[in-house]
């Protein structure tokens, strides 16, 4: 509840202000829409079948004579050969077979349709699942244009996206229901997921395969920008972190390098290059912390650094005891990582 309040009150960026969609019934991309069409057809057929069978059942128990006392059973059929199957039973089974066939064909067609998403000019992102956060590397034919980010997947709206899914440890599953169904991230194997977000917006997603302790707090957001804005965003992300400007920020960088932070995180343009934790080069541009667990506000960021386990018990980031001054400097530095 407190998280929610501060989320609403302090909500930093305009993107984070709206509650993001995470709903298979509200498709906002072609792939999810295709699945949703199939869902509606399936639901219709199943509802009809349900109604029909239940009606037959209720009619049968309504028309059969009821009795409280034990009557002699009706065993007239017992010693005769089985009568031929009643026509209604045969018809019922036949209808079931036909309806199932319809559903199988519809599924087949939907699957083909999902597989046919045009992939020209697709954005390629390599997503790696970790316990319990997401790494994202934006691929490019030109190595110098590649860059790393974490926990938020930014994509251009209206353009196809190819995700290359990998895992660094156990099996995770990438699932943003408003955009597409899920796909597992399996160690030792690479899988692909194609989708397209049709409108700009923020879509929430969550790890869907049980992956241990903090599985519940392994969320992410997909942020779809208008294409031009996406290019601008990507251009900014390719830049290394700016050098600290003020004295306080310089101290902050020093704190960062001196304490445990640099042992796990990368900040491009500095000496910190470790890959055990999320890339922090553009930390300040993200809207959430700790895989969708906390809003990215200075208060939460500071509290998180001092004691991550307070918010995410299993987080694999150690608590960092800092003096008030060190913390202030570090925060000042981190805020420059736009």
């Amino acid at each position: 509840m407190r998280a929610l309040m501060s989320f609403l009150l302090l909500g930093a960026s305009k993107l984070a202000a709206a509650v993001p969609a995470q709903n298979a019934l509200e498709p906002l991309g072609v792939q999810a829409a295709g699945i949703h069409d199939l869902w509606r057809l399936t639901l219709l057929i199943c509802t009809l079948v349900f109604a029909a069978v239940l009606a037959a059942f209720l009619y049968a128990i309504w028309r059969a004579p009821h009795s409280k006392v034990q009557l002699a059973p009706d065993v007239s059929t017992l010693d005769q050969p089985e009568p031929k199957l009643g026509r209604p039973v045969v018809i019922g089974v036949a209808i079931s077979i036909v309806l199932l066939a319809v559903l199988i064909v519809a599924d087949f067609v939907t699957e083909r349709r999902l597989a046919r998403l045009p992939l020209k000019d697709a954005v390629r992102i390599e997503v790696t699942g970790h316990m319990w956060w997401w790494g994202a590397r934006y691929l490019d034919d030109e190595p110098s244009r590649m860059f790393d980010a974490a926990n938020e997947i930014h994509v251009p709206a209206g353009k196809p996206v190819i995700l290359k899914l990998n895992s660094a440890d156990v099996i995770h599953s990438f699932w943003a229901p408003s955009l597409h169904g899920k796909k597992d991230l399996i160690p030792g194997r690479t899988s692909l997921l194609h989708f397209r977000a049709d409108q700009p917006g923020v879509y929430r997603g969550q790890c869907a395969e049980f992956c241990g302790f903090e599985h519940a707090l392994m969320a992410f957001t997909v942020v779809a920008h208008p294409p031009a804005e996406y290019e601008a965003w990507a251009a900014r992300q390719r830049l290394p972190a700016p050098a600290p400007a003020t004295a306080l920020q310089k101290q902050g960088l020093e704190v960062f390098m001196r304490s445990t932070c640099a042992m796990c995180h990368t900040v491009a343009g500095t000496e910190a290059g470790a890959r055990l934790g999320p890339d922090l080069t553009h930390l300040a541009s993200r809207s959430m912390l700790a895989s969708g667990t906390l809003p990215n506000t200075p208060q939460y960021l500071a509290a998180w650094i001092l004691d991550p386990q307070k918010f995410k018990k299993g987080a694999n980031m150690p608590a960092t005891p800092l003096s008030a001054h060190e913390l202030e400097a570090l925060m000042a530095y981190l805020e420059t990582l736009k």
Binding site: A24, T42, C46, L103, G181, R189, F210, G212, A216
Partner: protein
Amino acid sequence: MNPSPAVEPRNAVLDRTWSDPPGLIGWLSAINHKTISVRFMLTTFGFFAAGGVLALLIRLQLTVPDNKLIGPDFYNQLFTMHGTTMMFLFAVPVMQAVATYLVPLMIGARGIAFPRMNAFAYWIFLFGGLMLYAAFILDIGPDAGWFAYPPLAGPEYSPGKRTDFWAQLITYTELSGLLEAVILITTIFKMRAPGMTLNRMPLFVWTMLVTSFMVMFAMPSVMLASTALITDRLVGTHFYNPAEGGDVVLWQHLFWFFGHPEVYLIFIPPLGFMSSIIATFARRPIYGYPVMVLAIIATAFLAFSLWVHHMFATNVPELGKSFFTAASAMIAIPTAAQMFCWIATLWAGRLNFRTPMLFALSFFFILLIGGLTGVMLASVSLDLQVHDTFFVVAHLHYVLIGGAVFPLFGAFYYWFPKFTGRMMGERLGKWNFWLMFVGFNVAFFPMHIAGLRGMPRRVYTYPAEMGWGLLNLISTIGAAILAVGILLFVVNVLLSRKRGDMAGADPWAAGTLEWATSSPPSPGNFPRPPVVGSRFPLWSKDGVAGTVRGLADDRREVLVTSVNDAVPNHRAVMPESSPWPFVSAVAVTVLFIGSIFTPWAIVWGAVLCTPPLVIWFWPKRGPTQKNIEREVKP
């Protein structure tokens, strides 16, 4: 009705021969199938209650968003143990437990095949289950899910003893299931009363025969998988380690090759309960007997061809997916055929809405929903959305509770008079039923919606912004109502056992053989085993065509008949009560539990197991081996 063989006077010698010996040693030596079955049923029900308590804790935690009541560590143990308990310690064993009571009675046999093995299977089941719970209480409860996917369940990501306990005890309790399957298949094939051809077997016996065959094919798969897991964990093999050429998806194939059929292991015996109850309370034989039998067999075959639908989100090749979609959807056809046959039976019957019937009829509503959501899950594309969400939690409980628990409760009401000699209270029964029915639907229906609206499963908390709070609150209220309903059942059993109306041999005027003997049956079941002339022997004039004479009273002699036509072949002498199955079970348990801590336990455990097993199987020569040629005249 017809004069039933129960009318024959009880025979004191026979009763003594088949009784379990008195005293504590006697108690531990018991091998009578009814004694063992009652213990087995009570044990599985105990595990059901424990699993239910865990479920309530899960629901309590999920009632409101951002709840801090139960942390991730305990929550993960809770749902792991809930799933493990319900699937491995309740649902399959309870069906086998009920069957070991009823099958011999339904086929007119004096006992069960391999009675000592039956006792042994019970003891290892009890010890295995208790050890699993002991681990849980000692805070080394497994927490990698009841499906225990590596690498999460592997040595690297689940260090410590938690998953060791899980993997080892799964292998162990499945051993019990495997033994029970062998026992039931042998009993059904070789010990049917003369005249009970396959074509006259009660449908419940058919379902248990098919289920037992499925166990024989499915269980080894999971035992193999969990053994490979334990060797990965204990002695450093690399079956599931991708870094060393192992494959994590291998586990999923092995596990679901067992895990999917397991759902049908749970669901097929209740089809037999349904058929017994509906026939009796509609006062008519079930319509389309051959169709029912073929449908059960078809379900069993199909059940082995669709495990991959649990793995659509992994990299299954496209063509494969379509095959598994079609197979998964097609399994609805035999079930549909059975539903229609039952409706046809009701249509032509005269209905009596006693409690067992209410439980059976609720199946039409609940299983219909569970079956239809199953058809939805069969579709690859839809499954990619709802897999691993609360939609699946809803679906699986509609199938398991609607398909197994409701018929099972009906079955308890129906056969309670046979087990105890007394009727269960009808008024409490109705309350019991309606609370369970309403509570169940209130608890599980909203989960469909929560899942579609994006709520993943196996999460210990969820943010308020997602808007799943109300649905979860309703679910928890439903679960509480369901729990009260189940509690009433316990109350009803306790009250009725002492004060219920006396039942008599055949209180429902039912037609199958188990009602042809006194309630509860004498230790030897049938003073004179019947000779069967029809599918519902008690309902037709020549149903019980005579009785078998010439079986000895002073030793445990049973008639062995041919597989197809139940023509008497010869007689066999069943073993006496013996404490050695119990002692052996203790020794084997020490071996298994010890091996969790050191591989050497296999060696010294084997040494420990040898003497009791040798004594148990030491051949005895005696008068029992004579006279075996004596002809039996029906």
